[in-house]
């Protein structure tokens, strides 16, 4: 049983590395296309750093709470694990909600993904991360059911790996898309 668990964890790490390559391809596309605004507004005019900083803090906090959930689960504190997971879930949902708000706001302004190549690459890079977070939320819901049933095994551990991974990707998006974009670097 033990070797099986190690196998799952190792395999999941390998999957995360492959996901890393997917994001690398999207980052490269963004880097190539970010100047192709075709006369439309660029990153420095479109993004609101305060809004994005809030998003970032929410996601970082959710990484902390999913870490707490892992520790509680190791200590077999079922109730505390569930509370920590529920908190993470709410934080993750707020993050996705804020992102959807930002996207609809941009589209309403006429800066939707079909406006130009820069916005296409922006929406897909940030949106792929958002889709990953959404998938993570569905998964988190399933893991909470497993925690209640007491059949969680190492599912919480792999979920938290995934969640931390998304946090790291977001740090890169925050830095290279929003921060460098706002500073027009």
């Amino acid at each position: 049983m033990n070797t099986h668990n190690n196998n799952t964890t190792f395999g999941f790490w390998v999957y995360l590395m492959s996901d890393c390559v997917l994001f690398a391809a999207l980052f490269a596309t963004y880097a190539v296309l970010q100047t192709q605004t075709f006369g439309g507004p660029g990153a420095s005019e479109l993004f609101d750093l305060n809004f994005v900083l809030t998003e970032t803090l929410i996601l970082l906090t959710s990484s902390f709470t999913v870490g707490l959930a892992t520790i509680f689960s190791l200590e077999h504190k079922k109730r505390a694990t569930l509370v920590a997971l529920a908190t993470t879930f709410i934080l993750g949902l707020s993050f996705v909600g804020m992102e959807v708000f930002e996207f609809t706001h941009l589209i309403a302004e006429g800066s939707g993904p079909s406006a130009n190549a820069f916005l296409s690459s922006f929406f897909v890079l940030v949106g792929t991360h958002g889709a990953h977070v959404t998938a993570g939320l569905i998964w988190m819901f399933v893991v909470m059911l497993h925690v209640m049933r007491g059949s969680v095994g190492n599912k919480l551990y792999t979920l938290s790996l995934f969640w931390h991974f998304l946090d790291i990707v977001w740090i890169f998006i925050f830095t290279f898309v929003y921060l460098f974009g706002a500073l027009a670097l």
């Binding site: 196998n7 590395m17 997917l22 391809a25 605004t37 296409s120 690459s121 897909v124 569905i138």
Partner: protein, 598 residues
């Protein structure tokens, strides 16, 4: 309600209708035979739902043989078209149909012949060679297989409903954009590859973990058979390359479905971004295919030379060097992009450098044969055929690596001859050799030697006849994918057509070999070790014990993913949601069942 799908999708021109009816006829015959012999239950229990890697391997190879027939028919149609298209005769295909045929040929041969053949052999042999009962994740293995099947089914479905891409096998934009390819052909291409590609990625992870963690205690890294090493290298490439394919095709489909501007000609899109991305996947892909073939030959040459492999350590180092270098050569597929002399020089030099580890392997095989007592059985014949053709292909590859020369030969038949040289002479001969070599192990009886020899000679003679003229035509200036051909090219195209016919004869002998060998299986039992092989797979019985474990979920995921793919192609959104939610539901329900495997 049904998106873009209506009755007109079923109505084709006369020749397409023949293809359409033959697909339907084929399905009806198979279903009819299975029902007549009441074989459904047996097939379902013993194969379709099996989680045993060897059963899955057999199904992979069966899929690859079926698709090889389809891809070969495409090839024969192209050769016929170019051979009879002279003067007033415009051949028997319409220009658009011809473009669909050469696109389908390339896609099928790479994704649905070479890849499943490779994963079939890996499934059959890697667990046996490392002494593992099965792979790390048997269920995911079954799911990967079914996702590959879905891709193959979608490609064949395009013959019945709608059309296939007419863009060439990599679907370069802007041609593949909605503006220039408004039909569903490119969408069939995208979703067949997307779904099969996810399966490939999962298989890559599966076998990397299997090789890393499930070897026998005493088998340290440097005691692994070279086949296991090369598969390990190929799986690293799968894991790092296939996400790029997924991403790239995803961007193309957003352009087509949602009006994004990644690769369009307007609003800042860049078609060359696609070409860079697709080759950042595509170049590693060719090494994904060839590395396991190298591994197979590294098993066969020592066995039939009755000696130990020469230079084990250098084989391992060469494999890893190829893994690394294969990621920094992609620009050589489009030196003509205009990246500048410095960039082209770098990629040209790297391309020449990757020939060095490959050369090391060739010399190692030669030194293994040196002073050996060589037995010229069919696997060894395939190796000799490989050696001669592959070295020729390697030499023309180094020639093409010189950017100046490449400017002349880019997109010419010289290039087409070069990569067929590598993929038929290298990959396919390698997999045929592996198939003949390991067949007795898996099925417990020998393949007919005489018919195998006939098949080999037809293939090698046909190959030379079919592709050496293409080298010459390329040097004469004939570009690839031509529907109409200048008269001065005609004589050599007839020679190439004759070569294709000889290859067809070779394939006929291969089918005959299988039929005759199965017929006479009682007279030709294999025994545990018919070739005196030294690795672990020969220490077990022939056939090896099969694991009875099974699960219906792999097939379920396949069916739902197929619905999802079909719905995305025809933009039937409600069905796409059902398919995707269905896949998720099966996987989530699975996590609540108690089982040994994940």
């Amino acid at each position: 309600m049904l998106g873009k799908l209506d009755l007109s999708a079923f109505i084709h021109g006369p020749i397409e209708t023949v293809a359409q009816l033959s697909v339907v006829f084929g399905v009806v015959v198979v279903v009819g035979l299975l029902s007549y012999y009441k074989a459904w239950g047996w097939l379902w229990r013993e194969y379709l739902t099996s989680l045993d890697a060897k059963k899955i391997g057999i199904m992979y190879i069966a899929l690859s043989f079926v698709m090889l027939a389809r891809g070969a028919v495409d090839a024969f149609m192209m050769r016929t078209q170019q051979a009879i298209e002279v003067g007033a005769n415009s051949g028997f295909l319409s220009p658009d149909h011809y473009a669909q045929v050469f696109t389908a040929h390339g896609v099928i041969m790479i994704f649905f012949v070479a890849m499943p053949f490779m994963f079939g052999l890996i499934n059959l042999i890697v667990p046996l060679q490392i002494g593992a009962k099965d792979v790390a994740y048997p269920f995911l293995n079954s799911m990967s297989f079914w996702l590959t099947v879905v891709g193959a089914v979608l490609i064949n479905l395009s013959l019945v409903v709608g059309e296939f891409a007419a863009t060439g096998w990599l679907a370069y934009p802007p041609l593949s954009e909605l503006q220039f390819s408004p039909g569903v052909g490119v969408d069939y291409y995208i979703w067949a590859l997307q779904i099969a590609g996810v399966g490939t990625l999962i298989s890559g992870i599966n076998f990397l973990v299997t090789i890393t963690t499930m070897r026998l205690k005493d088998m340290s890294w440097m005691k692994m058979p070279i086949f296991v090493w090369t598969v390990f290298g190929a799986m690293i490439l799968v894991i790092f390359a296939f996400p790029i394919l997924t991403g790239t095709l995803g961007l193309l489909s957003l352009d087509r479905i949602a009006g994004f501007h990644f690769f369009t000609t307007d609003l800042g899109g860049s078609a060359m971004m696609y070409v860079n991305l697709i080759w950042a996947w595509g170049h590693p892909e060719v090494y994904i295919l060839i590395l396991p073939a190298f591994g197979i030959f590294s098993e066969i040459v020592p066995t039939f030379s009755q000696k130990r492999l020469f230079g084990y350590t250098s084989m391992v180092v060469a494999t890893l060097a190829i893994v690394f270098l294969s990621f920094i050569v992609w620009v050589h597929h489009f030196f003509t992009m205009g990246a500048g002399a410095d960039v082209n020089a770098f990629f040209g030099i790297m391309t020449m450098a990757i020939a060095i580890p490959t050369g090391v392997k060739v010399f190692n095989w030669l030194f293994t044969m040196f002073r050996g007592r060589i037995l010229f059985k069919t696997p060894m014949l395939w190796f000799m055929g490989f050696l001669t053709t592959f070295v020729l292909g390697g030499a023309t590859g180094v020639l093409l690596a010189v950017p100046g020369a490449d400017f002349q030969l880019h997109n010419s038949l010289f290039l087409v001859a070069h990569f067929h040289n590598m993929i038929i002479g290298g990959v396919l001969f390698g997999f045929f050799a592996g198939f003949v070599y390991w067949f007795p192990k898996i099925f417990g009886f020998m393949l007919n030697e005489r018919l195998g020899v006939y098949a080999f000679w037809c293939w090698i003679v046909g190959f030379v006849l079919a592709f050496i003229p293409l080298y010459i035509l390329g040097l004469m200036g004939m570009t690839r994918r031509l529907y109409e051909v200048s008269p001065q090219f005609h004589p050599l195209l007839v020679v190439a057509g004759v070569g294709a016919a000889v290859i067809a004869l070779g394939m006929f002998f291969q089918v005959l070999q299988l039929v005759v060998s199965i017929w006479q299986r009682k007279e030709n039992p294999a025994g545990d070790n018919p070739w005196n092989g030294t690795h672990l797979e020969w220490q077990t019985s022939s056939p090896p014990p099969f694991d009875p474990e099974r699960s219906n979920d792999g097939v379920m995921v396949g069916i739902l993913a197929g619905l999802f793919g079909f719905a995305m192609i025809w933009q039937i959104w409600w069905l796409a949601v059902i398919g995707l939610v269905g896949v998720l539901a099966v996987l989530i329900a699975r996590s609540f069942q108690h089982h040994e495997h994940s």
